[in-house]
Amino acid sequence: MIEEQPVAGPYTHARTSISRTMGLVLLALLPATLYSLYLFGWPAIFLFGTTVLAALVFEAGSLRLAGKRVRPFLLDGSALLTGWLLAMTLPPWAPWWIGLVGAFLAIVIGKQVFGGIGQNLFNPAMVARVALLISFPLEMTLFNAPVPLFSAQAPGFLDSLAITFGQSNQLDAVSSATTLGHLKTELGRGVTLDTASGGVESLWQLTLGEASGSLGETSALLLLLGGLFLIYKRIITWHIPLAMLGSLALLATIFHLIDPQSYVGPLTHLLSGAAILGAFFIATDLVTSPVSIRGQLLFGAGVGLLVYAIRTWAGYPEGVAFAVMLMNACTPLIDHYLKPRIYGRDRKGEPLNYADERGEA
């Protein structure tokens, strides 16, 4: 009845676990994911499946190699989530090996090499995405407009198999630049924003996700709902998403007001690309973001700033992955300097002193 080695209390516990946390994140991603898979059809489903499955296989293999117990760690849901998030950031009709290589980069290089769950400095999915983008720029920038399942233009099951797993030039037929990519190219040529905007999706289309883009990042609305669900469930707090989207929107507004013809407006910034996905699901990654509230605000604002800077002035049309990774690198520093104030002490750590007040009283 009595344990040999007593363990200190508490002897009651909140009904939480890592798998519950990861499970809720997956649940929050589900609507946006299902809708995206519908929009981009069978090739997207195949790519998604390949990526997630590969992530699980690499996780199991790594755990086995490391001599850890496979079952509890595989079931914690973290590898599933990493693979899932990675798939969401890939071009929907990318070939299968992009998913496979990405899963390897994410799980093995991004996570297990650091020591497994909780030990990685960088968000594994973003490590993979950035490495893929640099290594395979062609495959990683070939986007296509949505062709919903069962619609007239949608490729059939077998054609889709060919798109994902074989050789197919179908993609060229439907390829279409992303909003940010298009605007970047046009603005880069000196075209004014008014003219350039003619060829892109409306804000409404961006909100719903009927736009070309990465597999799961297009439906801003469903992603936003998922993110709010996570805040409601207290898996994440509002600080990182709000700071990130806030600083992105603020910068976009300022520059857009200064020069409306060369700088894209705030709503386009917020609704296109991976802004919403990044704000709620990627920058908020528990392992790689700061733990204190002030740290989270700084982290989020930093991501927003970097996203804007990369989108506007750097060579890539989209910068969420780079921005998150750069801020991930700052997380230990932020955690070191921005700590909560300890009870009974001032910010410098000195005990509070009421002597002065007492003197008056």
Partner: protein, 511 residues
């Protein structure tokens, strides 16, 4: 069920909302526990020096008779919970996770339960001077009955060193499961208030706040009713949130100020006492009765009939469990106190002591225990910590052996409330790490102190030896000089025929 408070409440950071499971025993009125066949009364049931026994084996004692006297400034006497024969003064397993043997008086009740005739009740205790009230509280062996067991009289004497203005009575009872204070407030509100007002008189304060969490509406109502005649007493409803009953956090909720690190609530003019302590103060002054029993909650999923019991101190816990119908199922954990900050018990043989407010027998399902997983830096512990600490980092440093780093991060500001461990999705026993580190630090300090003492003593010894040598040398020099002087005198005397030729025997011994 929020109470209408007359005072504004302030927010505290962090905290958690554990399932309170008070309904198991909250409906049970306090029952007197029948006297057990043997009482084991430890000499140390308080913080400070253990009491010094005044009785011997075979002696007959009366109920309320002093068995052991207070030793030093921070200590408390121990009294006989009933009349009977002293069976011995010796070692018995302590009411402590270690179960180590501690000095304990064993008393065999004679069944007569006869009070000593030396009780000294006061009919008008409010006419007593503050010192006199504190002295009587000290003589009655009253200690903080919320679990801290700090001698209450020492706290009542704080008026000498601090400018006090408010007495806060802690009726938060924020630990899940426990209902002993709840029942006491429902059943004895008038007595508690008398005790409270006497303590306020001893402290010399004019303002009394009785703070009760909103999950105890009946206790709030009973206390509010009883407090109607007293303008200086306010009954305050507190939001239900753990650790609202932590002294520092309770005071912050009420007055909006944090207790300075390493300081006392008295630094802000506030002293906190527990409701059960107030009850004991009432008994000590009005009835002259020392602290020989207390109310305990016996509960948990493994207890057949959870109850609130009035328990003679020294009763073996097994007796309480038997009275509650025994175990429904084998408990996974046996705990003294609440599930958040309680201590595991080594066996049911150990006695009930002044600080025992609850005995929990928890099933495996209730404790929601699970395998420890790696930290995912989710910051649940940071959000839950009411002290503004970063538990995950402290634990990581302790795990890596970096005790000093954990201290820099605020280890010694941790109140061990357990909110962090409670909230951790990876089920990391954070408090266990902190307790380990605090223990290591204490051990290190002790050994440093020992080394310092050894060094000091060694230095003192060599200094002493040096001084002795020096003294000897000086004495020798003196002798030498004397001898030389004598010799010279003798030589001079030789010249004179009447000179004495006494030999210098003692100088020979010296050589």
């Amino acid at each position: 069920m929020g109470a209408e408070n007359l005072i504004k409440l302030f927010k505290i950071r962090g905290g958690v909302h554990p399932d309170d499971r008070k309904q198991l025993s909250a409906g049970q009125a306090i029952e007197a526990l029948p006297m057990p066949p043997l009482l084991h009364i430890p000499l140390q049931q308080h913080i400070g020096a253990p009491a010094e026994p005044l009785v011997r084996r075979g002696e007959l004692v009366k109920k309320g008779q002093r068995l052991a006297r207070s030793q030093g400034a921070i200590s408390a006497p121990v009294h006989a919970p009933t009349s009977g024969r002293i069976m011995g003064v010796g070692g018995y397993p302590a009411h402590h996770p270690s179960g180590l043997s501690v000095r304990t008086i064993t008393l065999k009740p004679d069944g007569k339960d006869e009070w000593t005739d030396r009780l000294d009740p006061v009919y008008a205790p409010f006419s007593l001077a503050a010192e006199e009230i504190a002295q009587r509280v000290a003589d009655a062996g009253i200690v903080g009955m919320g679990g801290a067991t700090f001698p209450s009289a020492v706290k009542l004497n704080l008026r000498k060193r601090y400018a006090l203005h408010t007495l806060v009575i802690n009726g938060a009872e924020c630990e899940p499961y426990l209902t002993c204070d709840d029942r006491l407030m429902r059943e004895k509100p008038a007595e508690i208030l008398e005790g409270v007002r006497l303590m306020a008189r001893a402290l010399g304060v004019a303002r009394i706040l009785v703070a009760i969490e909103d999950n105890k509406p009946q206790a709030q109502a009973a206390m509010r009713d009883a407090a109607k005649p007293f303008a200086e007493v306010s009954i305050v409803g507190l939001p239900t949130r753990y650790p609202m009953g932590s002294e520092k956090h309770l005071v912050q909720t009420l007055i909006g100020k944090e207790t300075p690190a390493r300081g006392l609530t008295a630094d802000m003019g506030v002293v906190v006492h527990n409701v059960a302590t107030a009850m004991a103060v009432h008994d000590a002054l009005y009835l002259g009765r020392p602290l020989i029993s207390r109310v305990m909650t016996v509960t948990g999923g493994a207890i057949r009939q959870p109850r609130n019991l009035h328990v003679p101190l020294g009763t073996p816990l097994s007796h309480l469990i038997d009275f509650c119908g025994g175990f429904k199922e084998e408990p996974a954990q046996l705990i003294s106190g609440g599930p958040m900050m309680g201590q595991p018990l080594p066996s049911t043989r150990v006695p009930a002591v002044k600080g025992s407010n609850g005995l929990l027998a928890l099933t495996a399902g209730e404790s929601e225990s699970a395998e420890e997983m790696p930290c995912i830096r989710c910051a649940s512990c940071v959000q839950a910590c009411p002290c503004g600490l970063v538990p995950l980092e402290m634990a990581a440093h302790i795990r890596a052996g970096g005790l000093d780093n954990s201290v820099k991060l605020g280890l010694l500001d941790c109140i061990a409330c357990g909110s962090c461990s409670y909230a951790c999705p990876s089920h990391i026993p954070l408090v266990h790490y902190f307790n380990f580190a605090k223990g290591e630090l204490a051990a290190r300090q002790r050994s440093q102190h020992k080394q310092g003492e050894t060094k000091r003593l060694a230095e003192a010894r060599s200094e002493r030896m040096e001084a002795i040598k020096r003294a000897k040398r000086e004495a020798m020099m003196k002798r030498k000089k004397e001898m030389e002087a004598k010799k010279r005198a003798q030589e001079e005397a030789k010249a004179a025929p009447e000179a004495s030729d006494k030999p210098t025997a003692d100088s020979g011994v010296e050589a």
